[in-house]
Every structure is written in structure tokens, then in C-alpha cells.
């Protein structure tokens, strides 16, 4: 019975429609730098210390801020929910929790580095496949582990 249930849940996770990520990658992050830096510096006082201005509004900082936007797109719960269904999302969370508890650092790193794939313009399908595999593994672990 458990096994049939697992098959059905897995089928739902696999068959859930493919949801695209917002367009956000290294190019968009780079493109955002000049307008943002100009807009931010324009607001500061004219007599503000240059070093201070550069410390607050610099290319690296803006790039990192844009990178973080792209990075978190993959961990948006709504994206995961639509990509994996609610059971898949639960499975993914459980798989992540188990990975931490069991100190499976390779798995933890895989999850953490996953958003770099679309950021560096590699096929999004890899993200989808990894997420679905992890979600199904999580469901499997949840159902069959004591």
C-alpha cells in the first residue's frame, strides 16, 4: 500500500508542469550595475566623502545584490510548490533536513549551488530534474525510514 502511494506521489511530482524561472542571470546582473550605481550616487549629497560613497555604492555590492535576487528565485517556495506540488515541496524540505542531520555535505552543497546553474545560463532543466529527484528521495525517506 505504502509503495503504491509512493508511486502515485512520485508520479504527481514528475508530472507537475514545468515552471520557468524569471530571466535573471549573470548578464542581467551585469546590466543592472551602471543604472543602479548612477541612480544611487545621484541621491547622495555632493559633499559626501568619496570613499564612503564608494563603500556604499560599488560595483561588487550591486552585483552581489543582483546575484542574490537571481539566487533566491530557485528557492522561492512558490516556484518549488508549482514545480514539485505540495507533497514534493514537503519531500524536498525533508530531504534537506535529513541531509543536514546525516551531515551529507555533498548533498547540502548540491542544493546550495543549484541556483548557480541558471545564473551562469546553463539549462534550467537540470535544476528541475535535481529538485524532482531530491523531492522524490525525500518522500521515499519520509515514508520508508523509521
Amino acid at each position: 500500500m505504502k509503495f503504491i502511494l509512493f508511486i502515485i506521489i512520485s508520479a504527481f511530482i514528475i508530472l507537475a508542469p514545468k515552471i520557468g524561472l524569471p530571466i535573471c542571470n549573470i548578464d542581467t546582473a551585469k546590466q543592472a550595475i551602471p543604472p543602479r550605481i548612477f541612480a544611487e550616487i545621484a541621491i547622495d549629497d555632493n559633499d559626501q566623502n568619496v570613499i564612503f560613497t564608494r563603500a556604499i555604492h560599488n560595483k561588487t555590492g550591486i552585483f552581489l545584490s543582483e546575484f542574490s535576487r537571481c539566487y533566491f528565485d530557485v528557492f522561492d517556495f512558490n516556484y518549488l510548490y508549482k514545480q514539485l506540488t505540495i507533497l514534493g515541496l514537503t519531500g524536498l524540505l525533508f530531504a534537506s533536513y535529513r541531509a543536514i542531520v546525516l551531515k551529507r555535505y555533498n548533498l547540502i552543497l548540491l542544493i546550495l549551488f543549484l541556483p548557480l546553474i541558471p545564473f551562469f545560463k546553463q539549462p534550467e532543466i537540470i535544476v528541475m530534474l535535481v529538485l524532482k529527484t531530491l523531492a522524490i528521495s525525500g518522500v521515499l525517506a519520509f515514508m520508508f525510514l523509521k
Binding site: 544611487e40 541621491i43 542574490s68 533566491f72 512558490n78 505540495i86 533536513y97
Partner: protein, 543 residues
Amino acid sequence: MRKYLLVAIFILAAVLRLYKLGTVPPSLYWDEASLGYNAYSIFKTGQDEHQKAMPLISFAAYGDYKPPGYIYAAVPGIAVFGLNEFTVRFPSALFGFLTVVLTYFLAKRIFGTGPFFKFKKTEIDVPLVATFLLAISPWHLQFSRAAFEANLGLFFSTLGIYLFFRFAAGKPFWIVLSLISFLAGMYTFTGQRLFVPFILAILFLQFWRKVLKSWRYTAAALVIFGVIFYPLYVFSTQTIEGRLRFDEVTIFKNLEPINKSIADRRLDGFTFWANMMHNRRFYVSREYVSHYLDAFNPKFLLTTGDVNPRLSIQSVGELYYFEAVFVIFGIYFLIKNKQKYRWFLLAWLLVSPLGPATARETPHALRMVHILPTFQIIAAFGFLSFFEISRFKKLLLAISAIIVFVSLSYYLFMYYVHYPQIYAGEWQYGYKQAVQAVSKLYPDADQVIVTNTLGRPYIYFLLFGNVDPQKYWQSADVVKDKFFFLNVLGFGKYKFVDNVESVPVHGKVIYVTTTVPAGGKIIKVIKDPDGKVVFYISKNNAY
């Protein structure tokens, strides 16, 4: 030493909430203005702006029927220091500060002598770190620095939870005070009405043995709760005014999922299986889940905050990045260490978005502000638990201190320097300057025609003009529209109109408009801090 550190955190919390309170954010937005003027009206006459004596359930205001809590809380400040931006916002800042204080005592109840470390013989524990994190929280600061009813509501719900813990610690009478505090929250902010039932259910589940043991007090508290809650319940569920605003924002009145369900069933020929698979309840549930999950959207929590610039400064998320890392650690250690109140804390975190998820706009920092200070408490626990097992304690401490300092400095710089310039328009900047400019010309004018373009101008002319409510009532022209909104068309020499050109004029006329009317001579141009024109003050040829 620990005491000094705690006092220093409290001072920091107070300074961050009070410094430039009247000028940053740069102006009062219309709900703040309405709260302020209604409080002024209560102070002056004992009646609200629509001449209703001491409303206890709601203030009609713009027809949005505001809960009364904030308005009454603002009365003492306005009575002592007069009607201005500072006094309108002061209750929020004060209760925001008190929430920080309360967080210390609540975290102490939850963790007792939990994980801690010694820094120069001073014990740094969860309550201390959680209090510090709330003191500097962008989410909490945003709401403590403007007149948001939600911030007062947050104080009352946190107080209710704290008092419930006191009750559970063997003081049965405190349950009465706890439920009264929750009620105060419900009478202060509408969002609390969808939070209190859930948090009460969790508290009852957490402490069910204590609740049963002190059943007499519990029953008495519930009776008191029921009696005080009843009028609010009747208003919220059985009057058009009470239901209208909820109906306006809820996803359950959205026909889109139902239309989609019908379309999908039609596509499948309305067969039995089609009706099963494309049941509208599934569609509505799916939408609700999606709105619920929005609450934990990392973009909202970490990078940009709420999309509404009144609710977030846009350049920083609702939480700091470092907080998020320690929230994850915190959740892990709460479960791993089997902390006594782990399920309570996690349930508080998870039920907070249940109410706000019924609304169309999600994630909504204001409607789910009662999720605070769970993030801070969990992050504090996560940080200290991680610190306990860390091998490089000094290094971790040094890095943490630098990250906190940089994050806070960046946030404060963006808040005080950039935010007031970029988003002045979101705070209806320009009305105060317009009122000041018009006040000088008012005695000689026959008519003052003001555009409605920027919304609710009348309240600003009442508030910044310090108009006596009794004088206002003598000439107020108020109409209720089909959506039950109350529109003020004019009072005294003022006329508030959508189309300035269509108003019949006589004698000397002053215009307050966003474009110069035909034949108007500009007297003054009001610009926002970013240099964009907000209003033209002009006069006609007869002036």
C-alpha cells in the same frame, strides 16, 4: 555588566525608533493623517470626524472603518504636544519599543537558561540576542516609525503570548489578562482578528494540561473574552461595513479560479472525472497555498522586502541575510536539541501567514507583522547553538560583529538618506507644504479648489490646518459612494474635486493642482525631495 548591555540595547531600540520620527518617512500618508485627525477630534470633542461619540468598535474615517485602538492611543500625545507628525507616529514608536522590551522577557520564558556564551564575564544568551535583533530589525523599524495600527496589534499579541506563558508558569489569573491583551490586539488591527484564533489554539494545545488544571480561570477568561469580542464579531460578520473591506481584499471573492475550473471542465465535456479533477475547490485551495507560501519568499524576506514602498525601503529585505542563515540553523537546532517549546515557536511561525494568505496581495509585511519576533528569537537560538559547537569562537564572534555592523549601517544609510528622497511620493509628500502655502492666502480667497488626484486631500487640510472639528462639521460636505467610502467634497472655502476645470468659480480662487489650470497664475510650485513637481499653487485672474 549584563544589565548595562540590556539597557544599551533598549536605548538603541528607542533611538532607532524615535530619531527623526516626524520627518523620516518624509510625510504622513493618508491613513496616518486620518488616525491623527480622528484622535485630535476625540480629544477636542469626544467625537470622531463624522461626529460619532467615542466609537468603540470602529471609526468610519474614509469608510474603511478603522479599528479604534491606535486612535485612542494617540490621544494623550496629541493632547500634550499638539497635532503634528511626531505625535501621530509616537504611539507606534512607543509600542514598538515596548515590543522590543517584551521580546526579552518572552524569550527568557521560552529559553530560560538556554545556550549562552561568556564575553568578558558577561553571559550572552538568547533573550539578549533576540532583543538586539528585534531592536535593529528592518521589518520592525519600518512599522515602528509610522502610524501603523499593525505595530500596536503586534505589541498586544506578543503581550498576550507572554502573559499566557506566565499563566502556564503557575499564575492562573494571568490567563484573563492574556486574553484581554489579545482582544486589545483585535480591537487595534484587523489582521489580528485572523491571527489570534490560531495562536490561541496553539497556546491551548501547548499548555492543555495547565488549561484543564485551571479550568475555572480559563472558563472565566473565555467568558470575558466572548463578551468583549461579541460586538466586534457582530460588526465584522453581520454588517456591510464590517465585511466590505474584507470582501474587497480576499481571494475567496475572486472569480478567476472558478472560471478556470468551468473552462477546464467544459474542455473535458463536464464528465464525472472532469468535475472531480477540475473541482473549483482545488483551484481555490491551490491559490490559497500559493499565497501562503509567498510569505516565505526569499526575495521578500531577504532582498527587496514588501513590494509596497511604504512597507519596506526596497533596498533591504524584511530580514538581514545573516538573520536568515541563523533562522535556518535555529530551526535545525530547535528540532535536533528537542527544545521544550520548539513546536510552539515553529507553529507561531507557520500560522502567522494563514490569515494574510486569504488576501490578494501577498506577501504582505503589514498583515503578517505578528510573525515577529519569531524570526529574531529563532535566529538568536540558532546563532548561540551554532556558537556552542563552533571551534573558532572568537573568529565567529568577530565576523558576526562586522557583518551586523555593516548590515545595520547600510540599512540606516539607505533608510535615512535614500528612502525619503526616492519614495516621498508614496507618503503623499507635498500636502503639508501645500496647506502651509494656502493658509497664508486663505483669508483673502473666496474659494480654494484642490485636486483629488493624489487622494484624500481634505484630511491634510484638516490636520495641518489644525481645523477645529466643530468648525469642520458646520460646513462639511460628505457623501457616501456605492462602495461605502466616505468622500469629503468640501468644507469652508475648500472644494475637493476630480476635475478642477469643471467647477463653477466665483471671486478670488486659489488652485492646488498637479497641472496648472487654464488661466491660472502660478504662486508656488511644491516639489518633492527628488525634485519632481507635486503641486502647483495658482490663482485666477480675479485674485
